[in-house]
């Protein structure tokens, strides 16, 4: 294996993405099937409207924060590819942040390199930025928040967290684990928390970590629930979120609130997508669903999120990962772009996994891709051949959920769970007394 320097990897990735963007422009002009995502055209139109002083929500199906349209304003006067370059640059930042986070935990160079390659050369991820999808920006911000938390920089983490929740809403599911993560045992004013390092002997690490966790739980009295870090995080992120939302509400009114926020909270799309709920929603669209029915569909999501948080919050990145996979799998609407939300976290948990690529890892990959391809085949028959295959498509989405559940369970089983932080040595003396 030729050892690749991170700089070389990033350079090659950058050149590759530039090439893809240029190819995409050529394909859009000369081929019937467009390379560029439809959403990119929506963002660009909204940015043009904003550049001319109008509301970006005049563009139908624009359902994002005005911040995104603002970022794409240069599309109107420089090049219409500006947005794609911005998203691809965020993509590269995600690769860089993956390395930084792993280096913070003293993961060896070769594992860091593999993790970077898993993100930067994953066909799914490099097409998403070059096609003009904005998810890489979200991923980059999430990873930055993790870097800040690992460094004990609560203020900055809170700032970016408030911003990301305004931008995309789904990161709200990370609120509780972050609060739990800001454990007063490790987050004490004036001292930077100590990270527990990666070790090749994962069994020993597991033993040590669980001992430390036991000791810490004993000292975690009720009074330490509302600590300075936690209150600070909650206040700052809440303030940032409310300020952004309030500012744009002032500018664009109820239309902003409906399209950018409420739509995502209440979205039920009867059109076919990967979610198991789509056919149920379509068959019942003509009548109003009862409160009980709505509750029943929300309950699995709620229970899974709660249990995952309570079990894994101390191992923050792993908690984020499993939460995101479960969130996407149980959501009422699943589109392919949502997968990026956990793809950016996968390289961060793999160094702590016992699972080998041969053959368990490979089986998981093939199972996930197989279930997806199976769904896509039925989707193609329905949408492009006009055959009534709703039932088969729905069963394919049930299979997809089953595949996601299975892979999640396998990853949980093979993960070497351990809190991210370890105690400062001076604490040990107080504990023994």
């Amino acid at each position: 294996m030729i050892s690749l320097k991170p700089r070389s990897i990033l350079l090659i990735s950058a050149i590759f993405r530039v090439g893809l963007i240029l190819f995409g422009e050529w394909q859009d002009t000369h081929v019937e099937v467009r390379y560029t995502d439809v959403d990119y055209l929506v963002f660009s139109d909204a940015a043009s409207l904003m550049a001319s002083g109008q509301s970006p929500y005049k563009r139908t199906t624009y359902r994002y924060s005005p911040l995104l349209a603002f970022l794409l304003i240069p599309n109107s006067f420089t090049s219409r590819c500006w947005g794609k370059f911005l998203f691809s640059a965020s993509d590269l930042f995600v690769g860089l942040f993956i390395r930084i986070i792993l280096k913070q935990r003293k993961v060896p160079d070769d594992l860091c390199t593999y993790s970077m390659l898993i993100w930067l050369f994953n066909p799914f991820t490099f097409t998403i930025g070059t096609r003009g999808n904005c998810e890489p920006i979200v991923c980059a911000m999430i990873l930055w928040i993790i870097i800040c938390l690992n460094n004990g920089n609560v203020v900055q983490a809170a700032f970016w967290y408030g911003l990301i929740v305004h931008f995309r809403i789904y990161p709200i599911i990370y609120a509780l684990p972050i609060i739990i993560f800001l454990d007063p045992c490790f987050f004490r004013s004036g001292t930077k928390p100590l990270l527990s390092d990666w070790t090749s002997d994962q069994g020993k690490a597991r033993q040590i970590n669980s001992e430390l966790t036991d000791k810490c739980v004993v000292s975690d009295a009720l009074k330490s629930t509302f600590t300075r870090s936690r209150i600070l995080f909650g206040l700052i992120s809440g303030t940032v979120f409310l300020l952004c939302t309030g500012f744009f509400f002032r500018l664009y009114g109820w239309e902003f609130l409906h399209e950018a926020l409420l739509y995502h909270l209440t979205r039920t799309d009867p059109r076919h997508n990967f979610s198991i709920y789509f056919y149920h929603i379509y068959l019942n669209y003509e009548r109003e669903l009862s409160v009980l029915e709505k509750l029943i569909s929300f309950l699995p999501q709620f229970i899974v999120q709660l249990v995952l948080i309570l079990c894994f919050a101390k191992d923050l990145v792993f908690c984020f990962f499993v939460q995101t996979v479960a969130f996407v799998a149980f959501n009422k609407v699943i589109t392919a772009q949502y997968f990026v939300w956990f793809f950016c976290l996968l390289p961060l948990i793999l160094p702590w996994s016992n699972m080998k690529l041969k053959w368990k890892g490979l089986c998981c990959i093939l199972l996930w891709m197989g279930a997806q391809t199976h769904w896509l085949l039925w989707g193609y028959l329905l949408e492009f051949k006009g055959k009534n295959v709703f039932l088969q498509l729905w069963m394919a989405s049930l299979l997809f959920l089953a595949a996601n559940t299975f892979i999640l369970i396998v990853l949980i089983r093979h993960h070497n769970y351990g809190p991210v932080f370890r105690q400062h040595t001076d604490l040990k003396t107080t504990k023994t007394t």
């Binding site: 139109d45 550049a51 006067f77 913070q104 900055q156 068959l283 249990v307 894994f312 149980f330």
Partner: protein, 321 residues
């Protein structure tokens, strides 16, 4: 080595201990560059607010689109209202007394109407013939004439206005616009009808018209909406022929005005029976019961599996006890 990084760098770079000083300095520099670029973009944005015109065209010319006048008088598109509108309100805009009698022998007919493609995304192909009596052609201001085609769409299908605005694909048309319900996402039972209006420059075609007239070919991209539930599993949507007129700008007594030429009513009646049928898949009501039950049971089973794995199969404290 102490390095100077201003407030912005301090805000965004907390992790100096994990990188070398040189790398940290470089990152500081790049970050400053990024912040400067964002400020520059913001400044240009402010300039643009005062300077630029809108990029997304809104058809502001009041008299330009016939469907715009229709929707000023009626709330939604119904065949009876539309026919009423065409018969009464447009007759006042017909070319009268130009030059001597109003009938200059304009005949617009649909030679062919068909649906091209498969699935939920198809093209409506229509071939329109324009015939004008030879004697009348020199009297017409040919270069100021345009053919207007109005394609009324049924409830089950829609045209994407943004797709039609693509100048690359629709160069031949002077204008295209969609009126009515242009919501791309709602199923048909929650939406209203829409219509597409084409304006085609007829000057060249009129000047070089053959005895049997001239032809225009239209290819309109259409998309199927989600249909109401049906026992058979399919819903059939019928698309009828478009309505056609010709509009010319003529010199009036005081200023230029436009007037319309329509095919004589008895001519139109001949070809109104031609429609195309589009069979679109629809959900089946019979599935409703068991689909809901199995969906929720599957969700429940997945939930229980994940909960069990998290609590008893992972390396957490709970699994150890």
């Amino acid at each position: 080595m102490r390095f100077s990084c201003n407030f912005s760098s301090t805000l965004f770079l907390p992790f100096s201990y994990s990188m070398s000083t040189l790398q940290y300095n470089r990152l500081c520099f790049h970050l400053k560059l990024a912040i400067l670029w964002m400020l520059f973009s913001g400044a240009v944005f402010c300039i643009h607010v005062f300077a630029s015109t809108t990029e997304v065209e809104t058809n502001s010319d009041a008299g330009k689109f016939i469907m715009k006048s229709y929707f000023e008088n009626y709330e939604s598109l119904h065949d009876s209202s539309f026919e009423d509108f065409m018969a009464h309100q447009l007759s006042s805009s017909l070319c009268q007394g130009i030059p001597d009698n109003w009938n200059v022998g304009v005949r617009l007919s649909v030679r062919e109407l068909s649906l091209v493609g498969e699935g939920s995304h198809r093209h409506l192909s229509s071939s329109i013939r324009l015939q004008i009596a030879a004697a009348s052609i020199p009297k017409l201001p040919a270069h100021l004439c345009e053919v207007i085609v109005i394609q009324r769409l049924p409830l089950g299908v829609f045209a994407d206005p943004f797709e039609l605005q693509n100048p690359h694909k629709h160069k031949a048309f002077r204008d295209i616009a969609v009126f009515g319900d242009t919501n791309l996402e709602l199923p048909s039972f929650q939406s209203n009808r829409s219509a597409v209006e084409f304006h085609i420059d007829a000057g060249f075609n009129i000047l070089f018209m053959q005895n049997n007239g001239t032809e225009f070919n239209l290819l309109l991209p259409l998309h199927a909406r989600y249909q109401p539930l049906d026992e058979s599993g399919y819903s059939v949507v019928e698309i009828g022929e478009p309505d056609m007129l010709m509009r010319c700008s003529v010199e009036g007594k005081q200023h230029k005005q436009s007037c319309l030429f329509m095919s004589p009513p008895n001519e139109k009646a001949k070809s109104t029976s031609a429609t195309v049928a589009w069979k679109i898949p629809a959900g089946m009501k019979a599935h409703a019961g068991f689909v809901s039950v199995i969906t929720f049971v599957t969700a429940l089973l997945s939930t229980l599996s994940i909960v069990y794995a998290s609590m008893f199969l992972s390396g957490t404290k709970v699994s150890k006890t």
